[in-house]
Symmetry: C2
Subunit: 75 residues, 2 copies
DNA sequence: ATGTGACTTATAGTCCGTG
DNA sequence: ACACGGACTATAAGTCACA
């Protein structure tokens, strides 16, 4: 079972690629550092809800589309 | 328009009351200090996604039930 | 049972680089 | 373009005392 951060990162990456954004261009859009976006997508960090919304906004999706179901992750 | 943290806090409080939990009993369940839970419910802090999941788990709901729609808050 | 101030500690998030 | 890291800085996390 994936961790929450891993699952979230995987979903963010998939959605970003769907939108044909580069990682660093997308980070810039979100007002985040490029190295931090890499860490997010690799599931190395536990982002705040505020950043989740910022990322969702730039991906033109609802946060729920990026969040795993509660029973699909280890808590 | 409410801020994200305010909207999230309001929803957490409403769901907690629905479950008939006291603030400090609920904080304990979540492994948090009751004063910190108070700040979350008042929207004074910007929690991480991990905390959101911990709280959702104890409220027996999905995170999406606690999160406002992206167009309903100021980003 | 809850709000608030004043903390300390942990970690989110930045800025610089390398291959 | 992206992975990965070191060394920062800002802020979330967590504790306690008092109202």
């Amino acid at each position: 079972m994936q961790s929450l951060s891993e699952s979230l990162g995987t979903r963010i990456r998939a959605m970003r690629k769907l939108k044909k954004f580069s990682q660093d261009g997308f980070a810039l859009q979100c007002g985040l550092d490029r190295s931090y976006m890499g860490r997010i997508e690799r599931g190395e960090v536990n982002i705040t809800v505020e950043k989740l919304y910022r990322i969702s906004k730039e991906l033109e999706c609802e946060p729920v589309e990026l969040l795993p179901k509660i029973n699909d992750i280890a808590i």
